[in-house]
């Protein structure tokens, strides 16, 4: 809220510090002053009043009280003595409240002898500093009081009220009101309204009705100062989309002693232009007066929480400057009576003080946080447990960046248009910021494809990885998991691209200490449902460890790529990282190399194109025994010189023993077993 320096100064007889200095004081002890702007003869301070002080500091008096506590200056009271009533008080207006919870206090003055006129210059100036347009003396006073004291006031033209009768209740669905600004509103069931005998005249706490507004002919007015239910005002303002300055104050609530003070001040101001007005009726409906609060404080706890050694004398000083009354447990006022424990009486205008820690904040902030010397905490020396997930994630990132991949971070939401790419239900946001961010991502793949599409303009070969949370629904359960993906593009030869990404997947898992995995080309029904649509049907595999799904690898389905506008092919591998980090192993066990030489024999076999390498490997392994250390596929080709529909697989077979040098004969024996089993499969050995 913006505050006028001159207006604040008007509460004090002594000079306040210069505006900049005052701003600094407030920032360090009360609220941040965001800007100090010179405006003609005045300075405007833009103060960021904290949400928990909106009930008392959205007014010049409220902030003046803070300043009094900070500068040791005494506040002049802007509220005058009691206003004089007219010759006799009449009963002109009847006010009924349906449900006292809607309106905890209703106070009003009926005032006769009003002459509408311009406000005096000084009031116009003050209003101008709040960017408020002056209208007439009556209306200006209602606004002025709000800015000065924090009590929103409303003025009705008494003669426009039908039946001299006001009823305060909740609106019913469908009721309408045209407000002062000419706008028509459909009131909802949360709006508090005031009606007269025949129609609604006020959207209470938010905006007045046009039908009872002050105009040049107004002679008798009602000044209304009330407290309305904060929660309902908040709801109604939100629903109707009107958040007036009055509504903001009602939403936070404020000191219930304020309404009559505000009315007294209003009359004082009115007498400047209308010295002969008469208050003919005072109404005050206040069935349950606000209770005063007392809080028990232990000075040891204050110093323990703040980490200070503030004397009780100093604490008393601070609290009294802030309007808190102190008593010892036995009721005396002397410092020595206070002991460690005392009670504070919370000032009525502080709705935010409920318990000891609230009082401690008051002491701490006025004492000044800059005066608290840092003290290193004492504690047991305990080495924190390593977070395994964080550790493996870091390792995984290092592995991928070592492979030359760049890390991306994408949004957790995906567009509405991508829903059809998934064969299972996605989690939808109720209030997405736009269509582009409608669903929660179930896989990381879409983000990465989007990145590839946009980077293609600048880079030919792209290698990306991402790690992040994904979300989906499985039956009744909502699942959140961490996934890891890497993708590459720029390899137009499909075989090269696929085997490259597969190679990375292989090395990635091994480097994390996972050795017990395999690539399964068979997709179950569930696999199809969850991963099928994303990948090229003939170039994909599920990675399984312990027979469980751990990830998938493959070429991205061309249909998906064309949706993203990506030309060429993209290969990717995406993993469930929770499962990976659970399976990862750090320990390495040293394997002593054999001191006996290896014997390498090559074997080539001609197989039908559809035969998978794994079948040949399984066949060889089934007869070769432990002396066959390694099988290395070094060539795989089809083409000229080979029969139609056939391909050639060539392997290096590496034999070695730990115990002796193998003889040619021993190796020959194994080779002939291998040849036999391969031929049994109807494959030609070359």
């Amino acid at each position: 809220m913006k505050f006028s320096y001159n207006w604040l100064q008007s509460f004090f007889s002594e000079s306040l510090p210069e505006p900049e200095k005052l701003a600094e004081l407030l920032t360090m002890h009360s609220f941040e002053v965001e800007e100090v702007e010179k405006k003609d003869e005045d300075h405007i301070l833009a103060i960021d009043i904290l949400p928990n002080r909106a009930h008392d500091c959205l007014s010049h008096l409220g902030v003046a009280k803070e300043i009094a506590a900070l500068t040791d200056s005494k506040l002049k009271n802007p509220s005058p003595g009691l206003a004089r009533l007219g010759r006799e008080s009449k009963k002109l207006l009847q006010v009924d409240i349906q449900d006292k919870s809607l309106c905890p206090r209703y106070t009003a003055y009926v005032v006769e002898g009003v002459k509408i006129a311009d406000s005096p210059e000084w009031i116009k100036e003050r209003l101008a500093s709040m960017n408020q347009k002056p209208i007439s003396n009556i209306v200006d006073i209602t606004n002025y009081i709000m800015w000065e004291l924090g009590q929103p006031l409303h003025a009705f033209d008494f003669d426009k009220i039908n039946g001299a009768n006001m009823n305060i209740r909740l609106a019913k669905q469908g009721e309408k009101l045209e407000t002062l600004d000419g706008a028509a509103h459909d009131l909802g069931a949360d709006a508090i309204i005031i009606e007269d005998e025949s129609r609604i005249i006020d959207l209470a706490g938010i905006k007045g009705g046009a039908n009872t507004q002050i105009d040049s002919s107004t002679k008798t007015i009602i000044f209304q100062a009330a407290i309305f239910d904060a929660a309902r005002i908040r709801k109604a303002a939100q629903k109707l989309g009107i958040k007036t300055d009055a509504a903001v104050r009602y939403m936070h609530g404020f000191d219930q002693n304020l309404p009559p003070q505000a009315l007294e001040r209003a009359i004082e101001l009115l007498r400047e232009t209308n010295p002969k007005v008469k208050i003919v009726q005072k109404i005050d409906i206040y069935p349950s007066p606000q209770k005063s609060k007392k809080i028990a404080i232990d000075t040891r706890y204050v110093n323990s929480l703040l980490g200070t050694d503030i004397s009780k004398k100093k604490m008393k000083q601070i609290l009294e400057k802030l309007g808190f009354g102190l008593t010892s447990l036995t009721g005396g006022f002397k410092i020595k009576d206070l002991g460690f424990k005392f009670t504070v009486a919370v000032p009525a205008y502080r709705l935010d003080i409920d318990a000891a820690q609230d009082v401690i904040e008051e002491i701490g902030r006025i004492y000044g946080y800059e005066n608290i010397k840092p003290i290193a905490p004492q504690g047991t020396l305990a080495v924190p447990r390593r977070n395994e997930q964080v550790f493996w994630r870091s390792r995984a990132r290092d592995i991928l960046s070592g492979f030359g991949f760049s890390e991306v971070y994408n949004y957790s939401m995906i567009p509405k248009s991508q829903e059809e790419d998934y064969a299972f239900p996605l989690l939808e946001l109720t209030n997405p910021i736009s269509d582009e961010f409608q669903y929660l991502r179930p896989w990381l793949m879409h983000g990465v494809l989007k990145n590839i599409a946009s980077n293609k303009k600048y880079f030919e070969a792209i290698k990306l990885f991402e790690i992040g949370r994904v979300f989906f629904q499985e039956g009744e359960d909502i699942i959140e998991e961490e996934n890891f993906i890497f993708a590459l593009t720029g390899k137009e030869n499909a075989a090269n691209g696929f085997y490259e990404v597969k190679g990375y997947a292989d090395e990635f898992l091994k480097k994390l200490g996972i050795n017990d995995f395999y690539f399964d080309p068979t997709f179950s029904e569930e696999d199809e449902k969850y991963h099928g649509l994303l990948l090229h049907p003939a170039r994909r595999a599920i990675i399984r460890a312990d027979n469980n799904f751990v990830g998938f690898v493959g070429e991205v389905h061309p249909d998906i790529l064309s949706k993203f506008g990506v030309e060429g092919k993209v290969y990717c591998a995406e993993f469930n990282f929770d499962k990976i980090s659970a399976a990862a192993e750090e320990e390495h066990i040293y394997q002593k190399p054999s001191k006996y030489p290896e014997v390498v024999r090559d074997i080539a076999v001609l197989v039908p194109r559809g035969t998978m390498v794994v079948e040949a490997l399984n066949a060889i392994n089934s007869v070769s025994g432990p002396l066959l250390r390694d099988i290395d596929l070094f060539d795989m080709f089809e083409g000229e010189n080979l029969p139609e529909g056939m391909k050639n697989l060539a392997f290096h077979l590496i034999f070695q023993s730990d115990k002796k040098t193998l003889t040619s004969q021993e190796v020959d024996e194994i080779m002939s077993k291998i040849t036999k089993v391969l031929e049994e499969n109807l494959w030609e050995v070359r």
Binding site: S30, K235, G307, Q357, Y411, E428
Partner: protein
Amino acid sequence: MEELDKIKKEINSASDLKELDGIYKKYLGKKGEVALALRSIGDLSEREKKERAPQLQSLKKEIEEEVLKRSSELKSSGAEEALRGEWLDVTAPGKKAELGHLHPLTQIQQKVNEIFSSLGFEIVEGPELETEWYNFDALNIPKDHPSRDIWDTFWMQDKELLLRTHTSPVQIRHMEKHQPPIRIIAPGRVFRHEASDASHDIQFYQLEGLMVDKDMSVANFKAVINEFLSQLFGENVKIRLRPSFFPFVEPGFEVDMYGPKGWMEMLGAGMVHPNVFKAAGYNPVNWQGFAFGIGLDRIAMMKYKIDDIRLLYSGDLRFLKQF
């Protein structure tokens, strides 16, 4: 010995191995002067023999040594010559290594994790999809209360779930399962339903910290945060605490750090509110603690002078490859 000096001069004037070889042969070859002289020593008298033989032997030795010396000189400079022919332009660009890159947020996160680990903090994580209770109610932010308005929330169709607006729920979850003393940081992705611009986005990374013990105080907080910021920004930082408000702490503060543009807001903090302890299952009478929260995106933007937060989620390699 002018003979020897003359021969030495001759040897050292040889400009290549071939020439040197010729000089060697001249003196010590089959028909070399010294060699011949040595062979014809038998023709001399006994007395002459006794004088001449050692002279000649010593001459032979000197010549051989000198030739060896000259030979190795020529060899190394000859090798040098050959090498100089293998010239490369060393100012031409080197072969581009295929580098991978860690995202700048990852790098900041790792640095922050290191600092707090060295201070004895455990790293704790929690779900991004949270319940209303953990995200608000447990943190003393009741429904229908104006304090809820501080956070603009993304809600799921299943109304009880939302995308967490801060990582504070992780602290509650941790306290529920552990007894104090507590020393944790909870980093993670958080979400705000607000319009994106250069300094705000719908998602960002937050880091929250929590320390709970018998008598944790504001003074302790100051010491810890001073240490953290100094290690993060690599110098002794100047900080100040000023009053602020968050429903889950009381007293609450903002911590500003002094920089080239004056005081900059760095993080929000405060002493854990008793209601939060109660929600987590601790008796507030026995425990005191402080909590703080800082935005990692902001730190990354400050450290790396990135001017638009949205670059961090753009996947643009021209940006990412700079880190």
